[in-house]
């Protein structure tokens, strides 16, 4: 996170941060700093939310900027809009921190165009597990109200990925709404990028309120969450050790690849593991079965999941969409988060930032990744010994 500003604008939020964001969006469109807003709106049946791009501001009345669930990762919604480039309209998108982080990963992968997008984030308490929500939307709404009322990152009733999320607050968005630790009747509007400063300026919002108190609250909460994340992922690590661990973890996998389909980072139109290249001939399959005495299908489950780790764990933002979409309750998100916590530090990379650092696999240096050097050195030593 850029430590961008020390000042923000305190605004009234008697009806909660969601309504405050809505009022802000209306003002942004009125002041013509944005032409359209991208927000979650409840679907007509009332049993879920969908991303709606709004220019007719009367529709904004039904919007829920801080929605209880995240059926579609916001980065994916933004990708479907801007993959082919920007247009005339300036879009203001209100998304969760993990959605914004995924957006920046997609930016590095050339899958979104942020030329005419203003990203708005907010202190996110977490989201209700989607499969729980659709089973009983009324109960889900009630749960989320409780989560919101607690006024901090939730410990329970939210997605497992949210329980261990330590990136719940300001990320590299343009404008951030801080409300954790604030009194219930106000929120802080914090510019977080040059564009954010410009936008707030054009809207005539004066940033003269000190945000040090909020920052302190956030860093305290963050520390707690980081501890929780480490502890949980250490437990996860134990379950996936060795081939047996992996086989056990993914033994229920039915090969639907929903996890890949909802992953914001997995942007390939056709997954390698679904492609012709990964297919085997009938003869090969029968021969393999004969060699082993049998073969279990769906085949290559461990191959798929570990393969997907190699493809995307460097960019994983731990949004937990994969777990939400898994029909057989595999805790995909924890496994991938654990992997991300290993692969990203190996390159001193943190997914989801907009700090000009390229994706690790897009560059190299002559001397880097010390772990690998150790392995190479060892191998060279062995070779020398043989000679």
């Amino acid at each position: 996170m850029n430590d961008f500003a020390a000042l923000g604008a305190k605004i009234k939020a008697a009806d909660g941060p969601g309504e405050a964001i809505k009022a802000f969006l209306r003002q942004a469109v009125e002041k013509k700093v944005a032409d359209a807003v991208l927000v979650p709106v409840k679907v007509p049946a009332g049993n879920s939310y969908a991303w709606i791009l709004v220019t007719d501001m009367s529709i904004l009345d039904d919007a829920s900027p801080v929605a209880p669930v995240m059926p579609v990762q916001g980065a994916k919604a933004l990708k479907s809009l801007t993959r082919k480039g920007h247009g005339e309209l300036t879009v203001m998108a209100v998304m969760r921190p993990c959605e914004i982080r995924a957006t920046f990963e997609l930016l590095k992968l050339n899958q979104v165009n942020l030329e005419k997008v203003v990203l708005v984030s907010y202190d996110c308490p977490g989201a209700i597990p989607f499969r729980d929500y659709v089973k009983d939307p009324g109960f889900g709404e009630k749960n989320f109200q409780a989560v919101m009322a607690a006024g901090g990152p939730a410990e329970k009733n939210v997605k497992p990925a949210c329980v261990i999320c330590d990136e719940f607050s300001r990320v590299d968005s343009d404008i951030h709404f801080g409300w954790f630790g604030e009194s219930g009747s106000s929120v802080l509007v914090i510019p977080s990028s040059d564009r954010g400063v410009e936008v707030l300026g054009s809207m005539g919002m004066e940033c003269s309120d000190d945000i040090a108190g909020w920052k302190k609250t956030i860093s305290g909460l963050k520390e707690k969450k980081t501890g929780k994340r480490t502890a949980t992922l250490t437990e996860t690590a134990k379950t996936i050790q060795g081939l047996d661990g992996l086989l056990g973890t993914f033994s229920e996998c039915i090969g639907c690849h929903n996890c890949m389909a909802v992953c914001p980072i997995c942007y390939c139109r056709q997954c390698y593991f679904d492609s012709e290249v990964a297919k085997k001939t009938p003869d090969f399959i029968l021969e393999t079965a004969k060699k082993r005495g049998g073969l279990a299908f769906p085949s290559d489950r461990v191959m798929f999941h570990t393969g997907r780790m190699t493809h995307m764990s460097l960019s994983c933002v731990s949004c937990g969409m994969c777990t939400d979409a898994c029909p057989v309750d595999i805790h995909v998100a924890e496994v991938f988060s654990y992997m991300a916590d290993i692969t990203q530090p190996a390159f001193e990379y943190t997914a989801g930032r907009n700090d000009g650092v390229p994706l690790p696999l897009r560059k190299y240096e002559e001397k880097e990744v010390p772990q690998v050097h150790e392995i190479v050195k060892e191998a060279e030593g062995e070779e020398a010994a043989h000679e």
Binding site: V43, P44, A50, I52, I59
Partner: protein, 141 residues
Amino acid sequence: MEKTFVPRITSFLCTWCSYTGADLAGTGRMQYPTAIIPIKVMCSSRVDPVFILKAYLKGSDGVFLGGCHPGDCHYEVGNYHTRRRFAIVKKIFESLGLEAERLRLSWISASEGPKFARVANEFTEKIIEMGENEAKKKIFL
């Protein structure tokens, strides 16, 4: 002042028969409504049935398909396939309670200028009677 409803009817016309029929209607100075928005295709079977659905969901008030009479297809059998595909789309619309009457398939040969004008007028009238396609206003599609 009440706005008069001018429907938009996306019309896929096979170049060998229906499109030429439409031309003939024009050169013969026969009147047909501006609601008809012709799209020339090499054969009515070029029209992926999904195009019909897309046109409907994107708010076309009517979708019209014009092909050669059975047996007259330039590619011999294209229109027979069109007929089956069209039947599937119609049936699905009926099954889901969507307005299947907004979809129409007619055989119009190159020499049937008057028939093209008649069908165009008839269909447009029917669509005007039915009113606007509600899909135009739905944002959750």
